[in-house]
Amino acid sequence: MREYVREIESLPKSHRIERLKKDMLAETRYVSMDQARIITRVYRETEGEPVNIRRAKSLAAALREMPIRIDPGELIVGNRTSGVRAGVVFPEGGISWVNKELETLPSRPQDRFEVHSEDIPYFRNELFPYWNGKTLEDAVNAEIGEQAALIARVVKINQKDHAQGHICPNVEKWLRMGPAGILEEIRAAAAKNGDSNRFFEGVALTLEGAMNFMGRYGKLALEMARENPNFADELRDISRICSALTTRPPEHFHEALQALWFLFVTLHMESNASSFSPGRMDQYLMPYFGRDIARGALDFPRALELIEALWLKFNQIVYLRSTSGARYFAGFPIGFNVALGGQNADGSDASNPLSFLFLKAQEHLELPQPNLSARLFEHSPEDLLNVCSRVIGCGSGMPQIFNDEAVIPALRGVGIAESDAWNYTIVGCVELTTSGNSLGWSDAAMFNLVKALELTLTGGIDLLDGSKSGLNLGTLENYGSFEELEEAFRKQIDHFINLMIPLCHAVDRIHGEIVQSPFLSSVIDNCIDAGVDVTNGGAQYNLSGIQAIQPANIADSLAALKTLVYDDRKVEASVLLNAIRDNFEGQEILRQRLLNKAAKYGNDVEWVDELGHKWVRHFAKRLKEFSNRRGGPYHTGLYTVSAHVPMGQNVGATPDGRHARTPLADGGISAVYGRDNSGPTALLRSVSRIDSALGSNGTLLNMKFSPQLFKTEEGIRKFSAMLRAFVRLKISHVQFNVFTEEDLRAAIEQPEKFRNLTVRVAGYTAYFTELAGDLQEEIIARTTYLEAL
């Protein structure tokens, strides 16, 4: 273990941070319409001006006018609302769902928010009437609503009602130049290239707004210093920092953290999008940290406290989703994804003291944000693996683990240059991106392969309501061989892909018309050079990610069909077809056969795993034939976040023995829970057969371990060894839940005692007690790897 690792490992918790954390969690979450009021006013004032200017002006006005607040004791300040964890109503995205659900937000099953009583009449009388018909959602619905509904059973088109997030801005540049420096760059570019479409004008307006925002915090801190003698010194410090940042880039570590936070608050105020990632913070912050340590202005305990202060901030912005949206992304994940470790351009290990301070902060706080991701590779040092393992063993589900050996080649495969691929990071839950130069458009759509298989077996008839929903290529009874069945499945998939792509295209274009993002464009490489907004293809890389759902159910279903219907001929095709039509009613014997007499994905059985791989490969290959509206490729994601529950609700009984409407396999490439009973090594080998290069948009594997394993040094070392094997097997991602069933049952029974308990839902961590009951049950049901007897 390196000396500094030993030192960081022994750092204690900070009382200040503990207190701030407690206060934060105790504060009631409200729906906030403050910014909506400002945006609406500015839009009324700017009728007839170009969209980017209206967007820029309304953001600038919000930055100047939004009520702001500093809590005494805070070391990093700023938020997009004056209350913490507020659900921001963002009219440009879409508010028709708010119109329907406003009164039920305080009582709905997932992600509740209180509503200020004065906001209800304002919303109904002013906000909604003004925006109705003008929002992104309205425009998308008007243009593709009907076509999207036609394919909705198989394809869920996303990003229809909010601006696109899942972006890692160029934080390094923001810190190096500051808003003032970028403003100069903008002015120079405008002088050189002209500004016929007023792109530069819009960007400049937002940068000026951001500077004003920082200055307001500087002023507020100074005023508060007078009234809070106990905190006077540090408030004056904060004031000095905020004021300085309006005119120059940060010089010290504390300044850099504060500057970073202002960047992210402003991005969220502009887009209200899910997930802007700080990315490889341990890399670009290292110069500031190193300098301060060297000149004696900073020590490890102080650095940790500052980092934890920022970590708290990452938890203060949550995302207001519709009731159905909250079911797909339960627990308001917002995805401040921080990557640590990994490698340098020359292939050497990149971990440094900050990597370990981040891990320590995670261990101390055990909060859902940031979404902490550790990058591992062949030469990752032992101490990094062991500390990651130990922190995972604490149970908050973080860090999640990414594997350079799989990710870098996968990104190379979709046209990412070598000089960017090694510097990849993660956005949202598990989506892969380059740093600071990409609009990756993750989650453009979710493609339910399991539903496509259902329609293949039934002649295009939806098992749940009998409607005609897909191609009629015959039914299970007509396919004479397994190969014929597979051929029909292929056609069914291709049919829906062909219908899906134009709709994704349209959504992408409408974003470029309605939610242009001038501020974001200032921190995404190439936008300024090209003079083009990021939503219109200004970024250097322009990808679109579509999720294939869910290879485990596909592999298990096809394996059962192949074994029992075609190879062993133990089950009549017509009997099986009727059984799934009847949701196995009165057919428990058959269902048990399907469960027990055919091999299952996740048990190191090559041919079954290969079935999963084969269909992912087909899907990925087809996608690659299309390019998106911004000129970049479509590629495949193998992660469902928490969507396996609602996606499953949409699928009838399946030949893998699954009942209708029950969840699909969790994660993305996990096995169906309870069906992988050959231990974790077998699961990992199975998963490794789905070529990670196919999931270049990101993959997700959940594993659950008993806390017993982490009780001894030796257990932790063995877990680390398993991570090493995972790296060798070239699987892109894995994450761990570590707790016993009893822990979770207790939390369901006495939620008030377990408010703090965080679990890994999908590619993100959420408070267990804040999840809806069906999702809680599903998490409990996932296979646990116990300590060996």
């Binding site: 027990n596 090594t681 398993m722």
Partner: protein
């Protein structure tokens, strides 16, 4: 081809030697420890067994058995197996839809099972782990054990054998060249207890242990801490006195915590569990105490 009878393959085994391991459990054991953790491993023969929690009471098994070995006990519809009639033809296992019927072991060739073990080579490599043969008493099937170990060793996999060495010298000679580490169970210092409780003499076991040491085999002695049986100060002191005297190299000792989980298995096999119902695992402090007893007798390396 050499065949053997096994009852389980456990991948990701964490407590059967160093690193990540795959443990292969061979059937048959000459001892009869009353607290045995793997009671299905005692008999060398394969038996049909029925897992009530899996059974959906469809009755298919009863109707397919050509020998009338199965019957249903009303009203719970429990399946009764008449082992005098059953000839292990497996028809019921084949037809049982829920896998409630299964055999408690299987015959496999050494090549086949070694291939299965080698699947986890990536995990062995990164952890300095490997394969462990356990049981039952793995050296009851010496040529099969030797062949599995030989193939694994040939493929660069570290090999360990967990044994009571309560076997003929020839069995030890069959495997000794293919074993990197012997994990030798030694339970009782007192010859009377050894004989009465385990059903075997202490003397030949100690002789075999000494023989292993004389052949320069790497040996780790494992003492399972069983409440009321082995986990007493007297017994540990007695074992310590003996271990201290061993030559040429004093072997290391590993104390294994008691695992009450096996009680479930006993219920499954309809046997009574010999340990007090409320006996749980020992606390870390208690384990340290036992380790100290050993250390005080002069045992140099004690791991817990």
């Amino acid at each position: 081809m050499i065949f053997g009878t096994i009852f389980d393959v456990k991948r990701f085994a964490l407590h059967d030697g160093d690193g990540l391991r795959t443990t292969l459990f061979l059937k048959g054991c000459p001892l009869h420890c009353p607290w045995c953790q793997n009671p299905e491993g005692i008999s060398p023969k394969i038996h049909l067994c029925w897992t009530p929690s899996r059974c959906i009471h469809c009755g298919i098994c009863v109707s397919v058995c050509p020998l009338g070995a199965l019957s249903r006990k009303e009203p719970q519809l429990d399946i009764r197996i008449d082992f005098r009639k059953c000839d292990n033809n497996g028809l019921c296992v084949e037809e049982c839809p829920s896998a409630a019927l299964s055999f408690d072991g299987r015959r496999v060739s050494a090549e086949e099972i070694a291939g299965e073990i080698l699947r986890d080579r990536d995990f062995f490599d990164v952890s300095e782990g490997g394969v462990t043969l356990s049981g039952g008493e793995p050296l009851m099937q010496p040529s099969f054990a030797a062949e599995v170990l030989r193939i694994c060793r040939e493929n660069g996999v570290h090999t360990a054998v967990e044994t009571t060495v309560s076997v003929p010298r020839s069995a030890i000679d069959a495997v000794i060249d293919y074993v990197d580490l012997f994990l030798v169970d030694h339970k009782f210092a007192d010859p009377e207890s050894h004989k009465n409780i385990l059903g075997a003499d202490r003397k030949p076991i100690r002789r075999n242990l000494e023989y292993l040491l004389s052949r320069d085999a790497r040996v780790r002695i494992r003492i399972a801490l069983i409440p009321e049986y082995t986990a007493t100060e007297d017994n540990l002191r007695g074992l310590g006195d003996y271990i201290r005297s061993l030559e040429p190299v004093q072997p290391s000792v590993e104390l294994l915590n008691f695992n009450p989980m096996a009680e479930n298995k006993y219920r499954l096999f309809g046997q009574s569990w010999p340990i007090s119902r409320d006996a749980g695992r020992f606390s870390p402090e208690e384990i340290d105490y036992f380790a100290d007893v050993l250390r005080k007798t002069g045992v140099e390396r004690v791991a817990t």
